[in-house]
């Protein structure tokens, strides 16, 4: 008999921290820099204690200069280091967008393949807890638009812990999205961190009636919705895209061919989003497999309001997913 897999219960925050610690332990060229990552312990306490463990050389507090320190990360990566740059949240990352888009994503191409930028940029994304319009953005699509970048989305605890390790093996720049609203969420996962594949989307729940394609904060909501739907006899397949660029078309197209129904769930605004791209690809490649038009549940197109009830109404909730799927399958 095989040994039972040892399980542990941990928060999303702890999973991120474990991933960071492992990355720092495994490679002396890896260092973390970001606002308040050291003495403060990380704006979200993800890097708490790492300064004491690894020292100032490897856990670097930086001034509020997003373009400056992301650019410095690019320079250090070109020169042979493996920087992990934490941009506190996606909201501030636009101040560094010139560096990410004009330098990190283009240097290899402009130099005819001479330069490589093995840099990982981590950023907290999405709504937090009533943080208002300037601190609640879901901007995966901005970065997923850019050739030259690899864009990862850690929608589960396994990926929160495991994605960073592989991201650091990439010779090309990686933008890694973490989710602020999930930081305190506890889940039970394997104690041993398995090698996480970051080239493929993942079928998290097998089903035959409908494919739910999602990422980020949509993942657990979709899984909960699928569990509820199972009680009324709807068998939903849930896919976490995980890699938003380059998209793993194979996994979700295969599922569409099986279920013939698709709904895409995301917190981000609907227009020109990851869901519109995935929907378009399904239309291009699996049109004749569809029994119904692809449906999308996205963030309402409004700057995020402050009150809790409006914030909740602005992004798809579990019940919205359940209702939408029942409607699609003309159920009840």
């Amino acid at each position: 008999m095989e040994n039972p897999v040892m399980k542990t219960t941990l928060t999303y925050r702890e999973a991120l921290k474990q991933g960071l610690r492992e990355a720092l332990q495994n490679d002396q060229d890896v260092f973390l820099m970001g606002e308040d990552v050291g003495r403060y312990g990380g704006a979200f306490a993800v890097s708490k204690g790492l300064l004491q463990e690894f020292g100032e050389e490897r856990i670097m507090d930086v001034p509020l200069s997003e373009a400056g320190f992301v650019g410095a990360g690019i320079g250090a990566a070109i020169a042979g280091m493996k920087p992990i740059v934490e941009v506190m949240t996606v909201n501030f990352s636009l101040l560094a967008m010139d560096q990410i888009v004009n330098n990190a994503a283009t240097l290899q191409h402009m130099s005819g393949g001479q330069l490589h930028v093995p840099l990982v940029i981590r950023m907290g994304n999405g709504i937090g807890r009533q943080l208002g319009a300037q601190h609640s953005h879901s901007w995966e699509s901005f970065y997923a638009h850019i050739p030259g970048l690899i864009v990862l989305s850690a929608g589960t605890h396994e990926d929160a812990r495991g994605m960073l390790r592989l991201a650091l093996q990439s010779p090309d720049p990686v933008v890694l999205f973490e989710y602020t609203s999930m930081l305190n969420l506890e889940k039970e996962i394997d104690i041993e961190s398995p090698i996480v594949d970051i080239s493929k989307a993942k079928v998290l729940r097998k089903g035959k009636d409908i494919t739910v394609i999602t990422y980020g904060t949509g993942v657990y909501k979709s899984l909960e919705a699928a569990a509820e739907l199972a009680t009324v006899g709807i068998d939903a397949e849930v896919i976490d895209l995980r890699i938003l660029r380059p998209l793993d078309d194979f996994t979700y197209l295969a599922s569409v061919a099986k279920t013939h129904h698709v709904i895409i769930v995301e917190d981000a605004w609907r227009s020109v989003s990851v869901s519109s791209e995935v929907s378009s690809r399904i239309m291009e490649k699996k049109f004749y497999d569809l029994d119904a038009p692809v449906q999308r549940l996205c963030g309402v197109e409004v700057p995020m309001p402050y009150p809790a009830h409006l914030e909740e109404a602005a992004v798809p909730q579990k019940q919205d997913i359940v209702n939408a799927i029942k409607k699609m399958l003309r159920h009840g």
Partner: protein, 331 residues
Amino acid sequence: MLQSVTTTVPFDLKQGLLFLYQMQLIRRFEEKAAEQYTKTKIRGFLHLYIGEEAVAVGVIKALNEDDNVLATYREHGHALARGMDADVIMAEMYGKQEGCSRGRGGSMHLFDVAKNFFGGNAIVCGHLPVAVGMGLASKKQKKTNITCCFFGEGAAAEGEFHEAMNLAALWKVPVLFVCENNLYAMGTALKYTHAMTDMVKKGAAYGIESAEVDGMDLNAVMDAANRAVQKVRSEGKPFFLVCNTYRFKAHSMFDAELYRDKKEVEEWKKRDPIPQFQQFLLQKEWITEAEIELMKQKIEHKIQLAVDFAEAGTWEPTDQLTKFVYSDTGI
């Protein structure tokens, strides 16, 4: 303005001739590039460095081979001074795959990693934070090389400039910042773009040791650069060197030069760094008029070879269009 204070010449005859050769080569190479541009052999943007040659030659000669160099989109001179071949630069401007960036970059994106030449950066000031990062890596890796970063005075109005200065000073990274103050940010004069026009104060404001020098005088530039490089290398701290210079040609090939007086240009041309340095060599009797003529012929020949090389170059097949977006060894 600080002038050269040394009375002894910090180079020998052979080096002196090389410096003259390089300045002449840059000048003639760019004149030829402009000619090829009018023949539509070169397209896109073409920014000429004519008039500013003493800065690139003087500063780069003070560097070691393993030092990093980052420059702006007006970088033909820097690339040549760094020892990149005229052939591959011309081919790059033609967009041919034999170019130094395989034709993917063009005039504004010359790269040669083997020579530690990191562009060719065309977002004004975008490369300053990158230079800081390269300096940071040298420091972390305990290497003795330094990073030299050229930019125009226009860049000093960007937010990234101030972030980079602060980071460089805060982290004490071995970076030599060379501000090429040619008085115009594209077509807008310094006085219309900076509240504080004394550029040297912009480095000093961050606690970075700073100096300025007559960028039209090669001897002065070399002297200042040698001292600055020595400081950066020995102390492992940044240095801010302002080279006051002037661009004789338009900003780019699309510029009608409505913003400056022709008389002003003529005045600056009297301080052309090439005749100045030539005169210096003649006075020292390190060169004769006949030898200068011979040098010019040699350069003409070299430039013709570069044009021939570019003409003979080949176009990258379009089925390779998406190369160099991600690494072949990618995950």
